[in-house]
Assembly symmetry: C2
Homo-oligomer: 376 residues x 2
C-alpha cells in the first residue's frame, strides 16, 4: 500500500505536501511557515495555517530530525530516587529545557549498577539527543565517556564526563560551609558532620564545605559519620553521637538524616537545641513543621538548572563561542529552631544577628508562614 492510497483511504496522518496542496503552495513553503522562517507573506502564511488546521496537520519530528541532523531534545541521566534534591533538580531541568525549546528524554540509572551512567548515555545517544545533562551523578570509578554531543554535568566535576563537558555546581559546598559557620557563629567550639554516601559527589561537596569552614577557623575536625541519606542512618548516627558525650553541634548532609538524628538525640535524653544544635540540608517541605523546626540550607535548584541549561544550549547551538562562566548560586540559610548557642560556656553567642530570626518560631506561632526567613 503506497502513501497515496492511504491518503484517499483517509486515515493516515496528513503530511506537509497535503497541506501545501490544499493551500496552493509548495511543500517548502509549508515548511517555512512551521519553522517560523521569515520571507513568507502574511497572506500565504494564513492560508497555510488554515489548511493545516483543517487537515489536523502536525510536524513529523522524526523526519525533521533525520533531515536536519538535530532533534531539539536533551537527554538527562538521573539517579531514579525520590530524594527531594534530585527530584527537584529534575523538575528544574525539565522546565528549563522546555523554556529553551527542547524536549526531554530521561533515563535513570539504578544505583547499584556499575557503568550505569555510560550505559544511559549510550542509549540517549542512540535516541539522537542534541545534548546530555548528567544530574548529580555518583562516582562510578574511571568513567570515560566518548560523547560527541555537549554534556552538562550538574553537581560533579566536568572531568567526570570527558573533555568537552561543561559543569555547574549546585552550590553545595558553600551551603555546607554556611551551615557550619552558622553553628560556629553561635559559639560552638566545633561541629560534627553526618555525611552522605561518599560515592555521591553531592555528599563529598558538603563534606568539603564543612571541612573548609572548620579549617578556616582552626577548629578540630571530629570524625565523620557516613550515612546513606536515610532518616534511619541519621538515627543510627545520632545514637553513636549521643553515646560519645561531647557533641554540641551537628551538621547533617540532608534533612532526612537530620530528622533521624534529632529523634535519636531526643530518645537518648538530649534536648535539641538545648544540648545539641542540628542543621540540615535541603529544606524539605516538612522541615518547618517537625519538632523542633529544622534549621537548614536550601539549594537553588531552579537557578542551577536554568543556568546550566543556558550553557548547554549555547554549546549546542553556538559551539564556537566561548562559554561564559556559570554564576555562583546564592547561599540560602534558613534559620529555625534546631540551633542555639551551646549549653554552658560561650553564652555570649546569644544575641548575635544570625540567631535573631529564631525567635519567630515561638511555640504557638505558625512556623515559617512566609517561607523565607533566610539569612545572608
Amino acid at each position: 500500500m503506497t502513501r497515496g492510497e492511504a491518503r484517499s483511504g483517509g486515515s493516515a496522518a496528513p503530511r506537509g505536501v497535503d497541506v501545501a496542496r490544499l493551500a496552493g503552495v509548495s511543500q517548502k513553503t509549508v515548511s517555512r511557515v512551521f519553522n517560523g522562517e521569515q520571507y513568507v507573506s502574511a497572506e500565504v502564511r494564513r492560508r497555510v495555517l488554515q489548511a493545516a488546521e483543517t487537515l489536523g496537520y502536525r510536524l513529523n519530528n522524526a523526519a525533521r530530525a533525520l533531515a536536519s541532523g538535530r532533534t531539539r531534545s536533551i537527554g538527562v541521566v538521573a539517579l531514579g530516587t525520590a530524594l527531594y534534591g534530585p527530584a527537584s533538580l529534575l523538575i528544574g531541568i525539565e522546565r528549563a529545557a522546555r523554556d529553551a525549546g527542547y524536549a526531554l528524554r530521561v533515563v535513570n540509572t539504578l544505583e547499584g549498577d556499575p557503568g550505569g551512567v555510560a550505559g544511559a548515555v549510550e542509549s540517549l545517544l542512540e535516541q539522537g539527543v542534541d545534548g546530555i545533562v548528567v544530574s548529580e551523578p555518583i562516582d562510578e570509578g574511571g568513567v570515560s565517556l566518548s560523547i560527541d554531543v555537549p554534556v552538562l554535568v550538574l553537581g560533579a566535576p566536568a572531568s567526570f564526563a570527558g573533555p568537552r563537558a561543561v559543569a555547574t555546581g549546585v552550590g553545595a559546598e558553600s551551603l555546607a560551609r554556611a551551615a557550619t559557620e552558622h553553628l560556629l557563629d553561635l559559639g560552638h567550639m566545633t561541629v560534627h558532620h553526618i555525611a552522605g554516601p561518599q560515592r555521591w559527589f553531592a555528599a563529598r561537596d558538603r563534606l568539603a564545605g564543612w571541612r573548609a569552614a572548620l579549617t578556616a577557623r582552626g577548629r578540630d575536625q571530629p570524625p565523620v559519620i557516613e550515612g546513606d541519606w536515610s532518616a534511619a542512618s541519621g538515627y543510627a548516627a545520632g545514637l553513636e553521637l549521643a553515646s560519645g558525650g561531647d557533641v554540641t553541634a551537628v551538621f547533617a548532609a540532608n534533612d532526612d538524616m537530620a530528622i533521624g538524628l534529632i529523634r535519636a538525640l531526643t530518645d537518648a535524653g538530649l534536648r535539641v537545641p538545648g544540648d545539641v544544635s542540628v542543621v540540615g540540608f535541603d529544606d524539605i517541605p516538612v522541615a518547618a513543621y517537625v519538632t523542633p523546626q529544622l534549621t537548614t540550607v536550601r539549594q537553588p535548584f531552579d537557578a542551577v538548572a536554568q543556568d546550566g541549561l543556558r550553557l548547554l544550549v549555547q554549546s549546542i547551538e553556538k559551539p564556537d563561542v566561548e562559554l561564559p562562566p556559570a554564576n555562583d548560586p546564592p547561599v540560602d540559610l534558613v534559620v529555625r529552631c534546631s540551633t542555639a548557642p551551646p549549653p554552658r560556656r560561650q553564652a555570649q553567642g546569644r544575641g548575635r544577628r544570625q540567631t535573631a530570626s529564631r525567635s519567630r518560631g515561638g511555640a504557638h506561632a505558625p512556623p515559617d508562614a512566609d517561607e523565607s526567613p533566610s539569612v545572608r
Copy 2:
C-alpha cells in the same frame, strides 16, 4: 558537501552502509542484525557486529522512526512537583518503560496552566511517541483530547483522556478507606478528614475512600477541610480543628499535611495520639522518624506503574487483543505511634490486633528499622 565526502573526511557518524561495506554484505543485512531478525547466518552476524564495533556504529533512531512509523518511546505528562507521590510514580514509570524497551519523554504541566495537559499531549504527539501516560492529573474541566495513540491514565478516570484510553487506579480509595477504618477500629466515633486540593483526582479518591468507610459504618461525616498538600495547610487545618474541640481522630490526605497538623495540635496543647489520633498518606521517608512516628498508608507505586505500562505496551503492540483488567493494588497500612484509642469512653478499643505493633515504637528503640510493620 555530500555525505560521501564527509566520510572520507572522517568525522561524520558511520551509517549502516558503511558497516555493510566493511563487512562485505548488504545494508539490509546490517539492518537485520541490529533488529535481531532471524535468517542471518551466525558467520555473517559476527562479521557485521565486528565491523560495527570497529566503526563505532550506532543505529540512527530518527531514520528508523521515519521509516517504520514507530519510535519505541513513551511520553509522560506529569505535574512537575517534587511531592513524594508524583515523583515516586514517575520513577516507577521510567523503570517500567525501560524494562519494556521503551524510551521516555517527559513533559511537565504547570499547575496553574489551563489546558496544560492538552498542550503537553500535543507536544508529545509531535515528538512522535507510541503511547502516552498521563500521571495523576488534575481536573482541568472538559478536556477532550483527540489522541491517535494509546493513552494510560494513572490515578484518574479513563474518560479523562478520551474513548481509547486505559486507566489504572493507584489504589488511593482503598488505602484511604483502610486508614479511616483503622481509626474506627481503634474506637473513634468518627474521623475528620483534611483533604487534598479537590482539583486533583488523587485528592478526590482519598476523600471518597474516607467517606465510604464512614458510610459503611453509619458514622457522621464531619465537614472536610481542604488543604493544598503542604504542611502549612495542614497546620492551618490543625488550628481550626483544635478550636473546634470534639476531634479525636483525623485522616490527612498526605503525610506533609499530617505533620503540619500534628504540629498545630501539639502547639494547641493537645497530645497526639493521647487526645487526637492522626493518620497520614504516602509514608514519606521521614514518617517513621518524626514525633510521634506517623501512622500512614503506603502507595504501591512500582506495582501500579508496572501494571499500567504492561497494559499500555500491549495496546501499542497488539491493539486488537482485549486488555486484561488491571490488578487491584495491595493495601499497605503502616501502623506507628500517631494513632491510639480515643481518650475517654470506648477504652475497649485498646488491645485490638491493629494496635499491636504500636508497642514497637518505645522511646529508645530505633523506629521502624525493618521498614515494614504493615498490617492487613
